[in-house]
Subunit: 306 residues, 2 copies
């Protein structure tokens, strides 16, 4: 009875919120389709909603609690033996808002349920190993939502653009990624790969504002301006990588990201929807309830100091 009541209350809440804000299934709208062209996707667009920025912020706040509860159920079920977990891969040009998504979407779930890994330029030891060597240990354990801020995709994106690896090695990696992600998926990892798509004009405004604000200088790197000179090559590398690694078990979503609020609320919704699909009922305890009640009650008079 208690179980059913909780589930019911939860389901109603999410449905109500979603129906008000989203006019269409945003996960379906943003999911990559056969023949997609990145150059045809407008970073200013807001697929699936006619909401204002203020409504977007309100929806983000409203959906925090459903996301938190779904995450807690995922974690609870892992204690009861479930292998389910989620891996969100975030890839984007600099200043596209990956950090904001981590802080404002995933920062709202319990720390126990979040596995954040930020991949930077590989160390000498990492470079000496296969490119997936440093990734495997960061795959989330059951019950956790893993978030990769950059990922193994850097090895076919920036490494392709700057030819840090020869073409045949880049070519090998697409297949290796697909096999790796298939193996993770077969073990219960639900993979959501997201490209946050901003325009060069919007990136300019964001980098420029970092220079304007002394408390943001630590986030600015000289390489940020350099990479703008390779924008077309980066987009080409994204186009190819997404074509080669978009699979049923590890799909790509392209999220227009010129509006920070839209990108956050869309990614939040994609993750909530995936969790909803998992049918996350609360697991039963692994003990005899009446016997435990009796054992615990037998200690009810305990005091200390005696």
């Amino acid at each position: 009875m208690g179980q059913v009541a909780v589930d019911q209350a939860y389901t109603n809440e999410v449905t109500d919120t979603g129906e008000k804000f989203w006019r269409k299934d945003v996960a379906d709208l943003l999911r990559v389709r056969e023949g997609f062209q990145l150059s045809e996707i407008d970073p200013d667009s807001l697929p699936g909603t006619h909401a204002s920025k203020a409504e977007g912020h309100a929806e983000l706040l409203r959906s925090e609690q459903p996301l938190r509860e779904l995450q807690e159920r995922l974690l609870a079920r892992s204690w009861a033996g479930s292998r389910d977990r989620v891996l969100v891969v975030l890839q984007a040009m600099d200043a596209a808002g990956k950090g904001g998504v981590v802080n404002h979407v995933f920062g709202e779930i319990e720390p126990y349920g979040l596995g954040l890994a930020a991949f930077k330029a590989p160390t000498a030891e990492e470079r000496a190993h296969d490119f997936l060597w440093r990734v495997e240990p960061k795959v989330p354990v059951p019950g956790v939502i893993g978030v990769f801020d950059r990922s193994h995709y850097e090895d076919v994106l920036v490494q392709r653009v700057h030819q840090f690896a020869p073409p045949e090695e880049i070519e090998r990696r697409y297949g290796a990624i697909n096999e790796f992600e298939k193996r993770m998926s077969d073990d219960g990892v639900h993979i959501i790969k997201i490209m946050m798509h901003i325009s060069p004009e919007e990136q300019y405004r964001r980098l420029s504002s970092r220079l304007d604000e002394p408390t943001k200088h630590w986030k600015y790197s000289e390489s940020d301006a350099n990479e703008r000179g390779f924008w077309a090559q980066h987009m080409e590398a994204f186009q190819i990588a997404i074509e080669r690694t978009h699979t049923a078990h590890a799909p790509w979503y392209i999220v227009p990201a010129n509006s920070k609020w839209y990108a956050r609320v869309a990614i939040q919704r994609i993750v909530i929807q995936k969790l909803e699909q998992l049918g996350l009922t609360w697991p039963p305890g692994d003990f005899d309830l009446e016997a435990e009640r009796a054992r615990l009650d037998a200690t009810s008079g305990l005091t200390w100091p005696a």
Copy 2:
């Protein structure tokens, strides 16, 4: 100028909040003193404040933003070469509220700035190594607030109570811990060790409510009732461990925890105060501001597709 203005605004905010809520320096009140007796500390007490539960919740919310900003400064400074980081060790009997502190105090800082490690019963591989072998890799890197939910202290607490290790090995560990923590401290780790102190009566109420609520069953373990039979031995192990490992560089704080709100707001305050003592001004950028402005502006006309 911008730098000074930011610092000033920040400092005022924290001071105002603290002065309203805390009548005394709570970190000083809760810090272990020579000759302390755990049995004389009342888990129901609320040292340092006369506030109500509602005021406690309000203070917790009010101090989220100062804590977030201090954390961000700590992180920013690590990018500029600072070795500073914080390690909070949480130890307590079951259901004392460690999880609530993680979620409601540390869950409010940015995920990039939090390094949470939960130590469970050691695996066979971990048992084959020295007891600190599994701890070293979890020490936070510069810029991060590490939180240990249980820790190397389990090796002198539960292991002492149940004689999982012989007395001479337990004895060895106190010294090993002090040397380990001294080495961490010398490398820039600011260590805060907290015992959350609840009464057996309060633990009974909390465990009992977990049995009452089906969505909490996954948090209940049969060992919870068993361990109540060893309460006095656990308290003795705490008393000895704290006496033996309370040092200037790695002090213990005993936080009365029968009131969840008090424990949370007191721990939040202890951490904020430690961060304030570090003098965390924003670091300068590692670039020539005018030159970068010019380089970036030279790319301001970039569009894509061309």
